[in-house]
Amino acid sequence: MTETPLIGGAFQAPVDSRLAGARIGVVTFPGTLDDRDAVRAVRLSGATAVELWHADTALADVDAVIIPGGFSYGDYLRAGAISRFAPLMAQIIDAANSDAKLPVLGICNGFQILTEAHLLPGSMIKNDHLKFLCRDQVLRVENNATAWTNAYAAGQDITVPLKNQDGQYIADEKTLDALEAEGRVAFRYVGRNPNGSRRNIAGISNAAGNVVGLMPHPEHAVETGYGPAHTGTDGLGFITSVLNTLLGDK
């Protein structure tokens, strides 16, 4: 791609039939906010974005799924608790646990939905300082062997936006020890811990590495001119990674 398109403007994604053959679904729940950005991130990478609705009962032949951020069902009951029982979630849970190991990425509220669905361990509670926090956040890629992180170098620092109120990751000590021992801490906060998350954990994966969840927002750091510090596109690596996984390059 030679020129950066304007947000909301027409843009020409790189034309590559191999990439375009990868169908990445983005799920919208009532109250989802960041589905359009996630769809755009997929399209900018050259893959085909498939818009999915929470009440759908079939996965529309997608090769991977992104559960984007927002406030599904207004965070009522607990963040992600009601969305977790959406009809489409039953399909996603089955496909993620199947031999096909459907790659699933949960961002922010999507991460909360994945923990409520027990695809990922632990849970999120209110930030320790009780405030909504929005800032650019440096993350360290701790595990670059997952379906969504293989385009990064292990130990690489990336900067993406962070914005949430219920972002404090917690799990019991036994679970945390197991996550560390199995290399399932995918991302850690660098610098000041923004929300009290245990062991500075920003994102984790399941044992197979096909399901990844994180609180910060890679889909907001995919276009020069609009990402962190106006130039950051560190978030694109998530999509590149899953395309590597789907197309068998890694």
Partner: protein, 83 residues
């Protein structure tokens, strides 16, 4: 209409940021007798007609699978209130 009351609390070992904010504000109103506050949730499940064992069992299951998250919360009370 009879109802089933379900009380859910954060597990004791989990820090309750909301409770901490409340306990910080209480002394400003002169309430100085409470060194600690924990905030929980109360649900009222209304029932048409009699609360049978089967309906109570459903309420228990709903409490464990949806109304609470066992990773961070305990169901501390389930009781039938007949008005």
């Amino acid at each position: 209409m009879p109802r089933i009351v379900v009380d859910v609390m954060l597990k004791p070992e989990i820090l309750d940021p909301q409770g901490k904010a409340i306990v910080g504000a209480l002394p400003r109103l002169g309430f100085t007798a409470f060194p600690s506050v924990r905030q929980g949730k109360r649900f009222e499940l209304f029932v048409d007609g009699e609360v049978t064992e089967e309906i109570l069992a459903q309420a228990r299951q709903a409490a464990e699978t949806m109304l609470s998250n066992p990773v961070i919360e305990d169901v501390v009370n389930i009781e039938v209130v007949a008005d």
